[in-house]
Amino acid sequence: MAKDYLKDITEIRSMMEKSSKFISLSGLSGILAGVYALIGAVLAYNIAYTTIDDVIYGEQLVRNAIDNAQVLILIAVSVLALTIVTGLLLTIAKAKKHGVKSWDETTAKLILNLSYPLITGAIVVFVLYSNGIIGLIAPMTLIFYGLALINASHFTYRDIKYLGITEVLLGLVACFIVGKGLIIWAIGFGVLHIVYGSFMYFKYDR
């Protein structure tokens, strides 16, 4: 008898989750996103920080980064594109495995709630860039990305909320140590994704 009631409760729980949360997010895509970001950061470092033989600090370094802006943007866009494609493929695969549709109302809500802070952040970053305030770009991307994750976390695993909070905190810290953008990026988009991705992979995917 007790087993029956327990089964009822378990089924209620799982239906509430399944109907309202996006659970096809794969931890593996987080790990891969982190790896792409780290590779991108290494490439960017080689381009932005070592083309001048005698890199000192400060302005010269920043000016050099602007000179190489196009290549850097190309790297950033490639990393982003690879991340999105990997995320989509792994999500579709996981959804198939669990017998749920990968695109449904929850997915739409998730993406919508991700996009408000992300679009706002993109505009802010553009404004910073066009005013030459390069040093604050990396911290801002982390802050807005973190806010987007927190905002979207209501529609998926709670772990995403903690990843978001960590990204925001890292971004805020980075505001005070301007000039270390690439390292901050490598930590925020690389290391944190790998750490949280592995955690979620072992918690949900296996």
Partner: protein
């Protein structure tokens, strides 16, 4: 402590109904097709359970058109929420007592 088994709501005894109520309690509104997909049941089966819950006034329907296609959404009523919550509470008490 004694728990009255009769306070378990008969309207929720069926798994499909339990599933419908769980989905509706977690979402503002749920489309008919989404319910069908979530519960993995036939049209006839789902429709009869939806009708039964509607008759108890635990759920309600909102009909609209998306282009030319009719779109039926279901949502939980206030009394549905109360009834479902007390059903869960009873389930929990029963489990605790039998452990």
């Amino acid at each position: 402590m004694k728990v009255d088994i009769h306070s378990l709501n008969k309207a929720f005894e069926n798994r499909v109904r339990l599933g419908i109520m769980s989905a509706l309690v977690a979402n503002e509104k749920v489309e008919y097709n989404r319910l069908k997909e979530l519960l993995n049941v036939t049209d006839g089966n789902l429709a009869s359970h939806l009708k039964a819950l509607e008759k108890e006034a635990y759920i309600s329907i909102e009909k609209s058109f998306v282009g030319r296609k009719p779109n039926t959404k279901y949502f939980i009523t206030k009394s549905g929420k109360t009834a479902f919550r007390s059903h869960i509470n009873t389930l929990e008490l029963l489990i605790k007592n039998q452990m």
